[in-house]
Symmetry: C2
Subunit: 177 residues, 2 copies
């Protein structure tokens, strides 16, 4: 179940630095990878920068098709996230292998991930830093959240399978958007 | 108190997406801003991308001097982080105003922040995306951590003064660095 999220709120999902999944579709096959190297670049339309290793299967797909989906998993999906990160789309269908459900997106060919609490449909907006750094700038075209997943806790990678889970929330008086 | 951190471990500090401080020095004056739009780009030498608004005082300093320090505050500094984010170096000396102690860095002119548990001395490595996106690629030249701050909890910005604090740590068997 997915409800549309206003594009102006997308940054609130990515700015805290969660581990995300990135789906691509190339030559009729969808793939999914795990990613922590991403950041917001602009509020609206939301621009996101990310680094996708050119050693992986997703890189060629993203470069060729210029489309992807960023899907944000909550804590319960941590085991699948690690399995996704430890395997290659060259060898297996990771959706099938790890019980992730691809759902058609509205604006792009790569699928949403049904189990994730948020999904961002993206197109590549800038490739100037791809050759040197594998760094893509993406524009988020459409954003979805799953209203049945209340207050999802995200996970943050500290290296070698160590993840810190969201803890308490504090609110301080701030003018910062 | 600062102990050198091997550059190969720098990514473990930034990959989880904490709010950080960024110091600059320009025309004999140091300044500090709050920043959440950053990501790792390469493990070693560590490259970091970040977006620094061209509406702020730090942008001109970073562009002109090509040097900065990324300082990572733990939870206890959250009030100061918000104060730093809510004010401009045009108007005040934020170090003095908010009780942050500048400490000379080894390789760059901008200061470390004594109260932060980690400090990364950086030079600008790529400016190709500065004009369009305010996006700088930095190289970390030297990294320091404060060994007296044990297991620091970082804060993650969700917008409008709402921060999620690091919670529990989980470890899953992973081949991912």
């Amino acid at each position: 179940m997915m409800k549309e999220l206003p594009l102006s709120k997308v940054y609130q999902l990515l700015e805290p630095g969660p581990v995300v999944l990135l789906t691509t579709a190339h030559k009729g096959r969808a793939n999914v990878m795990a990613m922590s190297w991403h950041m917001m670049v602009e509020f609206e339309p939301p621009l996101v920068a990310c680094v996708v290793s050119n050693a992986g299967h997703s890189f060629a797909a993203l470069r060729a098709t210029r489309e992807c989906v960023i899907a944000i998993p909550a804590l319960g999906l941590a085991p699948q996230v690690v399995q996704v990160g430890n395997s290659s789309g060259r060898d297996i269908n990771k959706f099938q292998a790890f019980g992730l459900t691809p759902v058609p997106a509205l604006r792009v060919t790569p699928p949403l991930v049904a189990e994730c609490f948020a999904n961002l449909e993206c197109k590549v907006a800038d490739t100037r830093l791809v050759n040197k750094y594998n760094l893509f700038v993406l524009e988020v075209l459409k954003a979805w959240t799953d209203p049945t997943q209340k207050s999802p806790k995200t996970i943050h990678h500290h290296g070698y399978g160590r993840f810190v889970v969201d803890g308490e929330t504090i609110t301080l008086k701030s003018k910062m958007r």
